[in-house]
Every structure is written in C-alpha cells, then in structure tokens.
Symmetry: D2
Subunit: 357 residues, 4 copies
C-alpha cells in the first residue's frame, strides 16, 4: 500500500495494481498536462496537473465504493485512468483532434498501461468501465475532485463542497449514482459551485485568448494525430518554438511572454455553421494568424444527469431545486464567442467585422 500526500484529500492510498498503473510512462505523462490549460495566465497559482486530479478521482471513487460495495472494483481503475487521453493543455486542443475520451481508448489499447490492465480485465470490458457513473455523471468522483481542487489551486471561493457528506449520500442503483435526501444540499452546492467557476475561472478571457492562439499555432504546424496522442506540454511547446514557420514561432513566443491578443468583439448571439466557417476563412485570408475567431461549444451544464431520491422516488435534481433549474439560464448569460487580434491591428479587424455583419 503506497501513500501519496495530497493537500486536498490528505492521504491517498494506492493499492499495488493502482501503483503499477501510476508507474507507467503514459500515466507519468499526466504530470506534464496542466489541469486547467492556460488558466494560470489569469490565476498564476493554477499549476496543478491531470496527475493529481486522477489520483484524487480514484480516491473519491474508492470512498464512494465503501458505501456501495456492489460497484465492481474495475471501475476504480477506470476512474484512475479516465483522463489518460488528455492532450497538452487539457481541453485546449479538443477542437482539432478527437475528444480526449477517444484518445484514452487508443492509449489504453496501445500503451504499457494496457498491458497491466489485461492482466485482470479484457480491454473491451475496461473500455465500458470508462463510462461508469463513477466518472460520467453530473455528480461523480471526477467532478467532485476537480471542483474542490481547482478552487484550492486558484484560491477561488466557489468550489468549496462538503465532499464527505456527498460521498456518504451517493447510492449506486445499478445504473447511476443517486443522491439521497441528506445529500441534496451538498449536491446542489456542487452544481452551483461549478456554475460559478465557469465564468470566473474556466472561461476567463485571458485563458481563452491564449488557448485560441495555441490552437492556431498547432493548426498551422499541422501536427498529426499520431504525433499529438502522447505528447506532453514540453514536446508540444518546444516543437512550436522550433517550428519552421515564423507565424508559429511568433504565436508561441507571444504566449510564453504573455503578450496576448486582445478582444476585438464578443457576442452571445449564436451563429450558424456556415457563417462561422465563412468568418473564419475570411479572417484568415485578411489577417492571417493575427486575428482569431473563438467560437466555443455551448456549455452543457444542464444538470440533466443529477438524480436524487425523495422518499422512494428517483427524480431529477433540477425538478426539485429551483436553484439548479436556474443554472440553465445562467449558462446563456455567460456563454459567448469572440474575435481576438494582435494589439496593432485591432482597429482594422473591428472595421472588417462591422463590414462582415
């Protein structure tokens, strides 16, 4: 039994199988994948990685299983590995490549981590466990860890959640994790905290700009999926720094030195697919890598998958809680797309946009 010290959970215990999974190159690589992408440009202390978060998720999954011993053991190791497929800077590059969940399947099939799994599980079986409610619901071990951890590392006051109470009141009913009556307030608090973390931390405009710049650099560098699959942030950044294309070198240099592009225009009016691609193309033609459209997917915190047990009935939390219901509206308040540009050409881009619309 190996003990890992963690400021969020105290001590995390790793059994021998978990320890061996952690000791693979694929898992150690997570130490070099920042949990919150470029959030550290706005919150300098947000330097935590997918490594700690994965250990924390495993830890909470194990605690939930203490109260739900019918959960199969394999789900714990799936919780440990649920983020194994993340690309450098976490979600930043998911627009350009398959989602990290898909990449995880590839890593598990092809990495040494898969060799260890095969000792006890078939890969097919294990792939299913990666979608276990322990790590894929609206109230799950993954989310419980990252919220509290992100709050700890950013110093944001929003992500303080009574994890102990929540863990004690999550019941696995064979298909999903249901919150029992005594845990409702804590569950509600978790969803609210998350909703408040979005505009203040996860969608902080400084991070969004740097992420859009990195995406552009990676796009221009034309890094193949085969290459990016197992890159860490050192590989990626040094590749871009040493690019043959001056635009790529300029972009990564600007990120490194925090000479970021500025917002030229933001809006929360949705655009149709065609407008988006036309706008993108014309910006590229007119301004090259100096002006960028950032059109993020609408956030999905509809909280549809949080279920609670009231008496003998299972209901959606949004049915019982007006607060949770209002989160859907809140989403619309904070979502928006933007055009960013290099400081010197802001005015020109502004004129271009007013002509475009």
């Amino acid at each position: 039994m190996k003990l890992v010290h963690d400021p969020v959970h105290g001590y995390i215990e790793l059994d021998e199988f978990a320890r061996r999974l952690v000791d693979t190159p694929e898992f150690q690589r997570l130490r070099r994948i920042t949990q919150l992408g470029f959030a550290f440009l706005a919150y300098p202390s947000a330097r935590h990685t997918r490594f700690e978060h994965s250990l924390g998720t495993f830890h909470l999954a194990k605690k939930i299983r203490t109260y739900n011993p019918e959960i199969e053991e394999g789900a714990l190791y799936a919780a440990l590995l649920h983020d194994i497929g993340h690309y450098p800077f976490s979600h930043t590059l998911e627009g350009l490549y398959p989602r990290h969940e898909e990449n995880a399947l590839w890593v598990i099939e092809n990495g040494s981590v898969g060799d260890i799994i095969r000792e006890n599980y078939s890969i097919q079986e294990f792939k299913k466990l990666l979608k276990h409610p322990l790590v894929s619901g609206d109230i799950d071990a993954d989310r419980m860890d990252y919220l509290v951890r992100d709050a700890y590392y950013t110093g944001a006051a929003y992500g303080v959640v009574d994890l102990e109470r929540l863990v004690r009141n999550l019941k696995f009913d064979g298909k999903m994790l249901v919150v029992e009556e005594k845990g409702i307030m804590a569950a509600q608090n978790l969803l609210l905290s998350r909703a408040m973390m979005y505009p203040t931390v996860y969608f902080h405009h400084t991070a969004k700009i740097a992420e859009a710049m990195l995406r552009k650099a990676v796009e221009l560098e034309e890094i193949a999926l085969e290459e990016i699959r197992l890159m860490d942030e050192i590989d990626l950044v040094s590749r871009l720094r040493n690019s043959e294309k001056v635009e790529v070198r300029e972009l990564i240099r600007a990120i490194d030195d925090r000479k970021l592009y500025k917002r030229v225009y933001c809006s929360n009016k949705e655009l149709d697919e065609k407008t988006i691609s036309t706008l993108k193309r014309e910006l590229q033609e007119e301004f090259g890598h100096s002006a960028l459209l950032d059109y993020p997917p609408k956030p999905k915190y509809e909280e549809r998958n949080a279920f609670v047990k009231i008496g003998s009935k299972t209901k959606r939390l949004s049915e019982v809680s007006p607060l949770v219901r209002s989160l859907v509206e809140m989403k619309d308040v904070y979502w928006r797309w933007c055009v960013y540009a290099r400081e010197g050409i802001r005015e020109k881009v502004r004129q271009f946009l007013s002509r475009f619309f």
Copy 2:
C-alpha cells in the same frame, strides 16, 4: 490601537474610541449571547457569540470605508454596536419582546455605552447611523461577517465567500452600497450561501425545537421586558432553573439535558392569524407546556436590497441573476411551521391535530 486575534479575519484593529465602547458592561455582555441560539445542539461547535461577530462587522465596515472614504466615521461605531440589543440566545425570544434593533436603542440611551457615544455624537444622530447601509442592506458588513463566521464555526461548506473581492467592489453611492461589476459573482455567492445556510443551519429542526421550548418557558415565567433587556444567558437560564413553576423547570431541564420534544406535524401551508391563535390556545388548554406550535415568520430573503452597477446603471441583482431570482422560490421550499410535543404524548397530539384540521 488594540489588536484582537480572530480566526476569521486574522487581526482586528480597535481604535481608542472603539476600545472604550467594547470595554462597557453592555458590550461585554455580548460574550454571553450565543450567535446562533441553540444551533449548537445540532452543530456542537457553533459556540461563537455576538461579541466576536460585532468585532468582525466593525472590521469589515472599516475595510469597506477604506474604499469609500465619504462614509461618515460614526457609521463604523454603529456597525460595532448594531447587535447590542440582542436578548439571550439571539433571535429566539424576538417573538415575545420588541425586536433587538428596538432594544438596542434602549440600551444605547440608558447604558454606559451611551455615555461614551455622547462624547462625539448626539444620540439622535447615532440612532440613524444604526440603519446605515453598512449594516442594513442585503449585502453589508453584518451579513458578510456572520455568513463566513457561521460557516467557520459550524464547519458548513456553504458560507465561503470571497470577502476581499466583495469589499473592493462595494461602492457607497450616498444612499446604499452598490456592487460593482467585478464583484457580482462574489455577491451572488454570498446570497446563495445564505440561502443554503437557512435550511441546513439556521432552520435546523433541532435548534427550532429547543428555541420553541425556551420561548414557552420564558412565556410561562412571565419575565418582564425591563428584566430581559440586559439579561445574559447565565441570568436567563439560572432564572428558569430556579423558577417556582415546575413546568418552567421541566422545560429548561429538558433543554439542558437535550431531551427535546419531537416533531408531531409539519406543514408549509400558511395559516391565517385566527387559526394560529386558536390552535395555540387549544394546544395549551389540552396539553399545557407539553405541546408547542412553532409558526416562524416567513423568511425575507427576497434579496430586494442587493443592487449592482452594470455599466452606468444601477439594477437589482435579482434582475441580472437568474440564480438570485430563484432564491425566492427556494424560500418557499424550506419554510414550514410545526407542532412539537413531549415524546410520550406524540400520538395524542397527532390525533388532536387531525381533529383540529
């Protein structure tokens, strides 16, 4: 300059005038007035008093004034004394006597604390300051202190608020404290935290029952307003323990030993004034002090008094925030009245109630 160590704010500085106010018997008495009444029967660690809270409110008021130097200095001392009129166990007895704000006026006029105030202020002027927005809005120094403090002492995860950000973004516009744009999320979090503290801490049924029992005991003991005005909890409890009436002694003994009455019936349907008083009278006739109606006033957290500045316009926070809007609904979910009774007669009371309605 005197320094007081406080686990919530670090160090609280008291200037000479504040120190002299604190050193009066009326203010020292607040050390023996529990902040949260009988909440400690549910959260044993909630033993903090109006004394610490008053110092904390003064501290925050002073910080707010740093960013709003046009606030008059006297408002700080009003913040310090805003709770000077509390009766034993804080809000518990307010149904039987004038509200604590009224009692505060009496204490200030008649106590040695008033003599000190008169050195610098007229009493009339000071009374007005007691309604200053620093301590009487929906987002004010009073509320900011008690939420964070109550969370600290109960261990509840709900009251964690970014006070620093809020303080830096409160602007006094001559009439009220308005939240500036950068403080909106923190303000929203404050109101949400408060809304979650209500059902879990402030309205915890264990505390409610003990409070109803104490009210009954005080009612039976027929303590005059003149007596209660300056009583502390030691005076009150020992008076009840030594009462000539056996019912009073039984009630306080039951509270002391935590042999509390049980809930017989609860409902969130409102009753009209007449029904309430009939029910109360009939319960008294039938069961004496062994059955109690607890019909609390509906909570007033409509958040009508929280204002924010969006661009150049001042708006209600509830207008901009769907989350805050939903708090009004939440109120209705958690408010309810109950009938409590001594363990042995629960069944009889239940039957009585089914006949009554």
Copy 3:
C-alpha cells in the same frame, strides 16, 4: 450510527453505545464547560467546550484503533468520557478541589452515565481504562484533538499538526502508544506546537488573571466539593453573582465586565511552600480580595512519555530529537508566578511586596 458535524474532523460517527453515553445529563453538561477557561478574554473566539473536545478525542481514539485492533473497545468509551469530571472553566478550580480525573471517577460511579457503562463493563474495569495510553500519554488522542481544536478556535498558527500521518504511525505495543519512524516528524511537531501554545494561549496573562480572580471568589464563597462536582458554568456564575458576600459579587462582576486586576509583580524564581503560604496569608490580611497571588504549578511538558520506534528499538523521543529536548528548557523560560491587584491599589501592593522580599 449517528453523525456529528465537526469543523475540525469533518464528521464524527457515534455508535449506539456512544450515543447513549452522550445523551446523559453528565455528558451534556460538558457543553457548558469552556475548554480553555477564560482564554476567551484574550482570544474572543475561543468559545469551544469540553463537549466537542470529548467527541473529537473519541473520534481520534477510534481511528488509532483501526490501525491497532488489539486495543480493547472499552478504551474508546473511556476516551469519550475522559473529561467528564471537569469543573466549570476547566482547569481553573483544580487548585481548590481534587483533580478532574478524580472527580470523573465520582461522576461515573454516581451518575446515569455509570448505569450505561455497567451494562457492558464493571466500574472497576472501566476506571482502569480511563488511564489507557489512548488518553494518558504524551502523544495521545486527547492531546491530538485539543491542540488542533484550540488552534482552530483561537486562530493561533501553532497547533497545526498532521493528525492523519500521526494516527497511521502510532503502534500500541500492549503498554503504550509508540510512534513509528515515519511519524516522528509529526510527533515532534505536536510537542512543539503544544510548547508554543503554552505561553501564547494557555498561559496568556489575561486568562490567568481572570482565573485567579474566579478562584478567589469561589474560595470566599466556600462552595463545597459536593456542590461543585456537577455544576456547570451557569450554576457557578449565577451562584457567585447572587452571593451574600459583597467581595464575591465584586469579583464576578469584574470578570463579567472584564475590569480585570493588573499584574503588580511577576517572577520565575521558585518559592518554597512556606513562603508561598505566608505571602498568600499576608496579602489576604492586608488587601483582602483585592490582591492575589497566582503561583501555578510548573508545567510538566518534559515529554518523558513520548516514545518512538527506531529500527527495532523503542526510545524516548527526547533522546532522538534535540528539538524536543530543548522543550524542557523552554518551560523554564515561560513559567512564572505573579501577584495581581485591583487597579487602584497597585502601588500599595508593590510597596508591600518590596517589604516582603
């Protein structure tokens, strides 16, 4: 299984037997015995009681037993009850009456708490358990709880200890709790923290003065052991407030209003028994209750009872740690006796003392 929320340990689980012990009048009385006596006059927030501390000690004892299942179960309930004999204001009155450990034996033999114990244990057997290493060593559950708790409630930075690591590295060898190698640093930190809490909190002069004043009042009031045994702070203070002796009323009034006596003279030179009693008598004759000698017992933090396991050998921690060794010296730096007096007569007392020595 009952859960109690505690800001220090999160949730404390009480099994049925523990719950029944907690629900006795003797145990509930601990809610009205302040953990740190009059420390709240210096640290206003130090309002925690022996009740929470007793629950916390039980909680830690149970955790230690998880790693040492050979510890008998009864020792846990002894941990729960180890402070049941405390008088009002904790250690304040121990100079006048038998130590609280002795009073505990009386309470257990005569209280309803004893009736419950007898269901599973003989009283003789249980009395032995009260001296179990779980609550009577230099590194034990009692000390681990109070240090961390006192730090939390005072806000002092000294009592932060890695309890989890310590708990995991305490081994019961049949006679005592021995710290294993991996826990040495945490154990050392516990002892250091305690040593720093002494001068800053436990021996804070403001608390010491109020305690000396209370002792004098109780002495003058001539409260018999039979009366004090089960008094809570409400009983005691109201008894003194209503005393027939004006001196007693004056003393308690001065404590209530925090109009404390002042230090006239302090020294760390030891006095012999005879000098102490002569000085005391002459002060009484000359100044009545207006001047007080406070000659506290020398603190016993020689740390003789902390043992560690180095390889296969059990050694005293003081043998291996120069830091712990130096604590003995530190003790001598901070211990001292004082004479306090009412503000108005300080000069006279000073003259008296210079004649006396």
Copy 4:
C-alpha cells in the same frame, strides 16, 4: 493598479512599475521554473513556480514597508526580482553553474527587465538592493512567502506561520529587520517550520535522486553557461530528450517516467574534498552515468541572522530561544550524502563502495 489572485495571500496588488517588470519575458519565464525542483515526484501537488513566489515576496515586502516607511521603495522591486536568475528546476543545477544570485545580476544587466529598472534606478544601486534585508535575512519576506507557500502546495503541516503577526512586529533598524518582542513566538515558529520542511520536503530522497540524475544529464550534455542562463524547463528538458548522447536521453527518460535510481549507500560522515573527487571519478570510470554521488552542501540554517529586540537590546534569536538553538543540532541529524545507482547494478556498486572505503 493590477490585482492578482493568490490562494496564499488573497489578492496581490501590483503598481504600474511592478506590472511592467512582471510583463517582461525574463519574469514570465519564472512561470516555467518549478519552485521546488523535483519535489513533485514525492508531493505531486508541489507544482508551484518561482513566478507566484516572486509575487508573494513582493507582497510581503510591501506589507513590511507599511510598518517601516523608511525602507526605500526600490527594495520592493528588488524583492520582486530576487529570484529572476534561477535556472530550470531552481536550486538543482547550482552546483554546475554560478549561484542564481549571480545569474540574476547578469539577467538584470542584459535583459529587458533591466531597461525598465534603468528608468528609475542605476543598475549599481539596484544590485545593492538585491541584498536588502527584506530578502536576505533569516527572517525576511522571501522566506516568509516560500515557507507558507510550500506548505500550502505540498499539504505539509509544518509551514503554518502567523505572517500577519510577524509582519507587524518586524522593525527595520537601518541595517536589518529585527523582530520585536510580540513577534518572537511567530519568528521562532517560522524557523522551526523551516527546519521541519528540510527533511520532509526539501531533502526528500526521491527529489534528491531525480536532481542528481538531472545534474548528471546536464553535465554530460555540456550545456554552456551562456545557454542555460535564460533557459526555462521546456528548453532544458527538450534539449536533453533530443540529445545526441544516449546516456543523456536515458537519464531524462528515466526522470520523465519516474524510473529513478535507488539509494545504494548513505552516510552523514563528512568526506574531505579529495575523497569526494576521487570517489566521483572512480564511480564515473566504473559505472558511467549509472551510479551517482550526491554530496550536498551542509545546510546553513544556523539561524545566525535572526535578531530580536528584548527591551532596548538587540539579541540573536538563538540566544533567547533554546528551541532555535537546538536547530543547529537538528541539521546534523538530517544532513547526509548518498550514492545512487540504476536498479540493476545496485549490488555491484555496493561492492565497489565497500572496497573503496
């Protein structure tokens, strides 16, 4: 005035001059210099960087100056830049290159950070400020920040210090920062905390091994001082990963994958210079990069530079505090040199060493 959110200090204010210094490439580079080198291999969460620490040091320096307005303003900017010369992985490479303080002088003279400084200060003058007591004493802003920060990020219980009290009780006497009487306990706690951080965090053997391996890789790669001066960790690691020498690639791969060398032999007996270099040479000849001698300099926490004011006299803290005195001894307990080797050849290295000595 720019505000930076920091979980340790709340909000850090940067004035315009500070903000411009922060916005240079040299300062932004500190975001990619890990504060604690490879400590994250033992404490996964220790991912904080010299960037946050530099801001925190500036913040504390400013607070100290509030109570000591005679400190010249330039010393604050020196505090901000005091770590600008750190190489990748902080102290790890200082054995191979000039100390980071010397490199800082070069960076300031040659970097764009120097251009900004020159607007207000002569470089000569500024270089002197880098040795200001604010950042070069035993109790200074630098140390105060890193201890509390390292404790926060590792979760270690040792580095909790009452910074507020210390700041309020540091007096600049023209030559150094002297601790006033009320701050002695906090100062003592700072030094103790540091002493406990050494064996548990700073000298954790896992980090020491990885650091020795990195040093070897850098040595073999023969990176010139001119190259390393402004490298960040991305530059260095990718350089080593892409080395032409297989040994270098093996070493960095082993660090990346956490397949670390093992301890073969450790001792706290000092060796003379000649023995050290002979041992080093022979190990290299016999085992190449597969066996490493790690002979760290003896730690210098003699605490000679912590001064306190007792009455009107300035004394060394070690004179007044037996605890601090004992820290010197403690040093000797924990210092040691080791030989590490690749797992497969441990036995051979052991035999070699027994022949050598």
